[in-house]
């Protein structure tokens, strides 16, 4: 087991280097010289040159110990992200944004899983009947409506018209009111796709021979579903779930934008709008790192849940 983990951790390095390479290429090579942008519109050549020097943009790109790429790499390793265009420390921005993001995504995540898995089990119970077919139709329809429309319609209908929730995020209000609506919308919008996915997993499992054996032993359908099928189905479900966790932290940027929740997703969108490469760069690196770590965790979980797999 430890050998496995060590090997995987070692493999992480080339990936992380790769990610840094991609971000570097994207933001420095293709993005071009941003010193002009930082200096502002009316800056003269001297200011621009000063800024270039301050940000190290006048150094060679790759081929020296002091090159831009090496610096990029070093800074990432030490999590020194420097400052954003508005001069605030990026690390401070990030830390500030984590809590609102999590406040939104964690309940959404838990709600989604419970709703999707239980509904998938129920649908597997009634497979082949009209309920199953209608459920599939509703799921596909849900998947076809753009996410944006869900949000806008939800906001319009539940907040504006029915006035059940405030239209935007108000920190003074209790949590259930302030983030209740975005959480609800988020769950409903992704339910279509998730449910369809879990349903497919359940039905695939139900086609296996051991289900027939279980029925032949005299077990009821409920027992077969909730004990036999679920435990097998949990294997792909858990791996899927673990891999989704890093995305929780990114926050649902669309929801954050619409409801004015000052989380990491909102930060990201602002950065994109302002073309603040430093922030975008930092966030891309962090999330990639998280994904790499959680991919490893997913593999470990997988080995725990499935007795057939032993980690070598």
């Amino acid at each position: 087991m430890t050998a496995f983990i060590i090997r995987r951790l070692l493999y992480m390095f080339p990936i992380v280097v790769g990610v840094l390479l991609v971000t570097f290429t994207l933001f420095t090579l293709i993005g071009g010289d941003i010193s002009q942008q930082i200096a502002g519109k009316n800056a003269d050549a001297e200011t621009i040159a000063e800024i270039r020097h301050e940000y190290g943009l006048d150094k060679p790109l790759f081929w020296s110990w002091d090159s831009q790429f090496v610096n990029h790499f070093k800074k990432a390793l030490f999590f020194d992200f420097g400052r954003a265009m508005d001069r605030e420390r990026i690390s401070a921005k990030i830390l500030r944004g984590i809590v609102p993001s999590l406040m939104l995504t964690v309940p959404m995540f838990i709600g989604e899983i419970i709703a999707a898995v239980s509904l998938a089990l129920i649908i597997a119970y009634v497979r082949g009947t009209i309920w199953d077919v209608s459920a599939v139709v509703i799921c596909v329809a849900g998947m076809s409506i753009p996410y944006l429309s869900f949000i806008i319609f939800g906001q319009y209908f539940f907040a504006y018209k029915l006035d059940w929730f405030p239209i935007i995020y108000l920190p003074e209000e209790p949590m259930i009111k302030s983030v209740g609506l975005p959480i609800l919308i988020g769950i409903l919008a992704s339910l279509g796709g998730e449910l369809r996915f879990y349903r497919t997993i359940m039905l695939d499992e139900m086609r296996n021979d051991y289900v027939r054996t279980a029925f032949a032993k005299g077990l009821s359908t409920t027992r077969v579903l909730f004990k036999h099928v679920l435990k097998n189905a949990m294997i792909p479900i858990i791996t899927n779930v673990v891999l989704t966790i890093p995305h929780l932290i990114l926050g649902s940027f669309l929801l954050e934008r619409f409801f004015g929740i000052p989380g990491l997703g909102y930060l990201m969108i602002e950065a994109i709008g302002a073309r603040d490469f430093f922030v975008i760069n930092a966030m891309t690196f962090i999330f990639s790192l998280l994904i790499v770590i959680f991919t490893l965790l997913a593999d470990i979980c997988y080995a725990f849940v499935d007795p057939r797999i032993s980690l070598k």
Binding site: I15, G18, V19, A141, I145, L148, S149, I152
Partner: protein
């Protein structure tokens, strides 16, 4: 429901593709969806051609001229309405299906134009995605060794960066970027952004399939006949995974349309031409004034094509996937 098939019909040998098409034809719903998609594609082509004719050749094709002022600002959908266009004194009468937007432009025409934007984006992005993903996957799967390691490292790296982040990052960076002497227009940057970030899944899939089929007998036979690697890859192996590429293409098409909508919404797409995302963006402020038709039009248009594509892709996959075949 239950047709009597004769013994003869059951025993006729069937080619893979003709068999798949025959089975697809039997599914009425899937065929309906196919025609819906075809209509959208046809409309998109018509508008694309019409657009060129209108802007470069000065033709007058009303349906394509989306920026014509057909009515007052925020006119509701109505059977009859009158308005006085700027710089004219008499009133003009007309009917509008879906109302007008802030500038008096026809929502209906904008929706049609949006179809062209969406289909073009999805199509071009798909092509880029296939052109990158398939060859890389094939090379990785066929040669293994260091080629495989390098390509796998590359796509794992790209795949590690969260898709939306990558997409937005590419879109931001590519706007106004220069490739040699040319500056990238908004729309091309969108094609590139989506295409360059979405090839990873296809690459993995193709690589897996090539690895599985590399040791099959027909490949061995081809090699024994002296075929070059290139020939084997392109004339023997790839045709056999074509159905996977096709299924992947139709499944991804929907997600590309949705990606375009999000990008336009964020202002990262082509900003001077209508698109569904921009229409939804406008709706944010419009709804407060009870102007619902722009968003409704865009949402319904997206909904119909997504639904049709989803259903059709499912049916296509059922018909083409040998493992799922139950007859």
């Amino acid at each position: 429901m239950t047709e009597i098939t004769t013994q003869n019909e059951l025993m006729q040998p069937r080619g893979y593709w003709s068999d798949a098409i025959r089975r697809l034809r039997k599914r009425k719903l899937a065929m309906l969806c196919f025609w819906i998609v075809a209509i959208y594609a046809g409309l998109a082509a018509f508008i694309w051609v019409g657009d060129i004719l209108v802007t470069h050749f000065g033709w007058k094709i009303p349906l394509v001229q989306w920026n014509e002022h057909v009515g007052p600002s925020y006119q509701k959908p109505a059977a009859h309405y009158e308005f006085v266009p700027e710089m004219k004194t008499e009133s003009q009468k007309g009917w509008c299906l879906l109302g007008t937007d802030f500038m008096g432009q026809s929502t209906f025409r904008k929706t049609l134009y949006g179809a062209k934007t969406a289909m073009m984006v999805a199509f071009c992005a798909s092509i880029i995605s296939i052109l990158i993903g398939v060859p890389l996957g094939a090379l990785a799967g066929y040669y293994r060794g260091w080629v495989d390691d390098a390509i796998v490292w590359f796509y794992t790296t790209l795949g590690t960066i969260p898709y939306i982040l990558l997409l937005m990052a590419f879109a931001v960076v590519l706007r106004g970027a220069h490739i040699g002497p040319w500056e990238l227009r908004g729309s091309v940057s969108v094609y590139l952004a989506i295409g360059l970030t979405s090839w990873v899944g296809l690459c993995r899939l193709i690589r897996g399939e090539i690895i599985k089929r590399k040791e099959s007998e027909y490949v061995l036979a081809a090699r024994a006949m002296g075929c070059s690697d290139f020939r084997i890859l392109f004339f023997h192996l790839l045709p056999n995974v074509f159905h996977i590429i096709l299924i992947n293409f139709s499944l991804r098409f929907v997600s590309f349309i949705h990606a375009e909508v999000i990008l336009s919404f964020l202002g990262l797409g082509e900003t001077d031409k209508p698109s569904w995302g921009a229409m939804i963006d406008a709706a944010r402020t419009e709804l407060a004034r009870d102007v619902w038709w722009e968003m409704a039009a865009a949402t319904v248009a997206i909904f119909i094509i997504s639904l049709a594509l989803n259903i059709f892709s499912d049916a296509l996959r059922d018909c083409l996937d040998p493992k799922l075949r139950m007859d």
